[in-house]
Symmetry: D4
Subunit: 163 residues, 8 copies
């Protein structure tokens, strides 16, 4: 792996999504997967999205995680521009609580896949874990780190609830 | 109006949407508004969408009607590429009956508007009528035809239901 | 354009909708489109609505933006009284979070169109932008201001999220 | 009761609603309550609705039953024009199966009530029964017929299911 | 009308519903309609409900307003025990925001009607107004008070929104 | 166990529910649990429901399975009249596809439990299995039959799908 | 009953569910039913779940109550591993307010039943009451305590609401 | 790649899912990705699932695609047993049209990811495409085939709709 590779690109529709999407960055950092986070709106900055996807290969990027809310088109439009795996994270939107974001992200028509995680922070964290699982397929060190993380996670859950 | 102008562009994500979207074409034809219909998928043919929007001005196009289903991004992505008014028509999707199409189309974030009509054929017909209403603002003939059409519509409704 | 024209009428079902609907007024003001805001309830003041629509032509009004919540009939009833383009903005209602407002506004039967924007403030702002886009079709100055606004909006989005 | 009184007016948005709404007429006929059925669209024939409501008192009308589908404004708009009790029946709409009709009818804001029955034929039948219950409050014969009908209904239900 | 008649009975499933249901009592008081409010749970106090309905006639009761939340059976079970008109008010429930209450109240099968108002305070107020409208059918004084109230309500709505 | 005991009572709101509810009877028969099926409507035959529940103890009844649709009150009202375990089966209703039946059955307020199974035939079958599981707690033969049935079920599932 | 039996096992997906699930423990304690509460995640600690179910018989456990949120698989996976009755309690999830938890718990396919209670605290309390009702079938003391509790509950409800 | 490797395992809850899930197998076959399809129910055959996941590594399996309906736990339970990427495909369920399947699959809690595709056939096809995209990351031939397939897909869409 080259020094300056960025394996995972995290993009999001607006600054307000960062509170959620940083869960993806945190777990990727914890598992030692290089990543970067950028604000790119499918609607307000369509050219920036094109440029970002065009530059992905040169950075050695393997996976793009796209988080957006409401009529959440970012993941789908990204997937239309690349054959890299695109993971979608629906934001919890103010009125409809993420149901709009979820359906806009997951219900992609046949031909252009977006693989979607849960609404909100759990989804952002799991997008990071899923990206790691993909990278682990061809990187034994990452695979071992992921397995260790999963064991640690299980062990950290107390058996008895506390008041 | 030039001979070869096309005032309204009707675009749709796939051939299967035409059964619905032709309601827009039919009412525009009936009201004498030049229009054309094209299959353009935001996801499967993104370049075709760019080219279409780029060419719209040269055709004298005033309004774009975009019909799509499920994770229906077509109207929103079109609106991101132009400042022309974009009308969205959500298709009745097989599983969720258009609720996914509706939320994906109408819940656009502030800054890039899509004006959305009802799910399915009623929405397609009304998109044609709404486009006509916009054109009527600067074309007295169209305005008169639209007013006449509305009166005819009202008069055609029988007062007594029949078994 | 006459000095005292009002191009866009913003109407809403109650005072409590103003916190949302003023987003429409603000963007219209910013883009230099004359507008006025009035409280008109389809249910509690039906006569006021008739009078308002009857007077719209004399004011040179081109577009009516109607915001209402719950069983939100205002946009539909307005559209029944005029052939001007009517834009609907569903309020975020207390119990059902705007799903009732959205369906009551967008699911208009064929024949009387209402073009609907998103639930809440994003929808109100986009109604203002969409009305501007309609006016821009026949006013080159407005068109240029709208294009400039869109560019400024894109440029104002930072690339890097901040904690 | 005068010979030519019509106690209950049944109105509906279109001919296609009659298959549902005739359940209201049938039960009213069965219970001996004078009624009439008319097609009146809140959106396509708003003037007809005004005229109908204006004439209701002269006919001795006590209750209006309004059936409509999708963005179902008919009951609410009728209630805005009269202080007579207005009963709403949401039609089973093609895409959203009546959820849109239900919310558009029942979620009336405080001040103008619509009392809503179930979606579809059960709702239409119950609107007829509810109108009868209102009339029964001041007509002992009707009250006795209604009580008898309820007893007959209970007795007609077999205890054992049959294959 | 006898001195000690109670025209409208307001019943509710628990003390926690009173914050909502007192809107019904308030508007009935304002319009001079005698009423009483009682806590009666269809599930936890079924015998109390039977006794209450049995005693309704002796009190001269004309209408029962039943407010309940979640699996809201109170209105339906009351309607099963009487031929008096029963109005249902769905409470805004904690998890599903009243959607469960609404469907449990409004979707009554054919044969036993419940006429349902909106979720929450608007529905409670409108239940009071609707009960008044029923009573107004046979009481000219009440009818005049209701018409006056409606006019006052319309007049009290300011035309201009205030910040 | 006495000869003429009926361990499980299956009740349903109408004959039309039997096509679904007989799945409960079939699995109980298969597992050798005595049962009977009756049509009892919470709304149309409330007295029949009271009589049925009053007689349950004398029959040695242990569990009541109640299937109903739309505003499905049958299970809840039954649970209000007995401390026997009551299982609810929501019917697939015509308009809302069982969402109304489900919420009306499962969302019982604290104090009177209904344990709810899935919408439709799967729920009816599982109600029978769940009733068997309860009886198995104090009947070793039933327990063994249930365990054997579960093993047979697993073994009957082929590993390879066939076209 | 042996001294050290635990009749009811309460398991939950995470510590954060305990605030809800302790309602089950409280009512079981109040009714004198031995119980224990453990944190067991179907996803993060699958082996712990296997071990727990394997050990249930030896403890004399009769019923397992499983509370989980979002994609709530705990009750279903538990039911797959045992023929004991499994009660599911859907947590009120942050984004979708428990609708996801409810459907994930209740919509079990035919063959493996989960009996589901309401979303949140009411459901947890009712799970405890339902478990008690099962135990009461073969324990006369418990049956008497449950009947007494139900009577006390009814008597504790005041008839008059207080402001 | 070894001769007898199976890169993608397709598992599904029952034979009835195969009509949908074979879309995944078909696209994988078309793109030359070795795959196998098996019926494995998380609920009815939990041991079979354990055995299958345990054997996955030995087969060189890289990705598991899990399709299930209603309370669709298969993908989540699989993901709990492995760190391989697991893709979920929600079946279109009979009553709730896949909304239950979707929420049960996608709303996984943080820590155990399932990446979810659309409801039904489009989702199954896209699961196959997404699995291919993952394999393409470390197999240049697959990458070229995928890019060629995408181009062919775009080219195959006619521009003009046909009646």
């Amino acid at each position: 792996m080259a020094e300056n590779e960025t394996l995972v690109g995290i993009i999001m529709g607006s600054q307000s999504d960062w509170g959620t999407m940083k869960e993806a960055a945190k777990i990727l950092d914890e598992l030692g997967i290089s990543n970067e986070a950028k604000i790119i709106s499918a609607h307000r900055t369509p050219q920036r999205l094109h440029d970002y996807v065009d530059a992905a290969d040169a950075k050695g990027m393997k996976i793009i995680i796209a988080g957006a809310g409401a009529a959440a088109h970012l993941a789908g439009v990204t997937a239309a521009l690349t054959t890299l795996p695109v993971l979608g994270v629906p934001m919890e939107s103010p009125a409809l609580k993420g149901m709009d974001s979820l359906l806009s992200t997951v219900q992609m028509p046949g031909g252009i896949p977006v693989a979607t995680l849960a609404i909100g922070k759990a989804g952002a964290k799991n997008a990071g874990l899923f990206a790691t699982a993909i990278i682990a397929l061809s990187d034994k060190d990452v695979s071992e780190r992921l397995i260790a993380w999963r064991k640690k996670q299980a062990a950290a859950i107390p058996l008895d609830p506390v008041d």
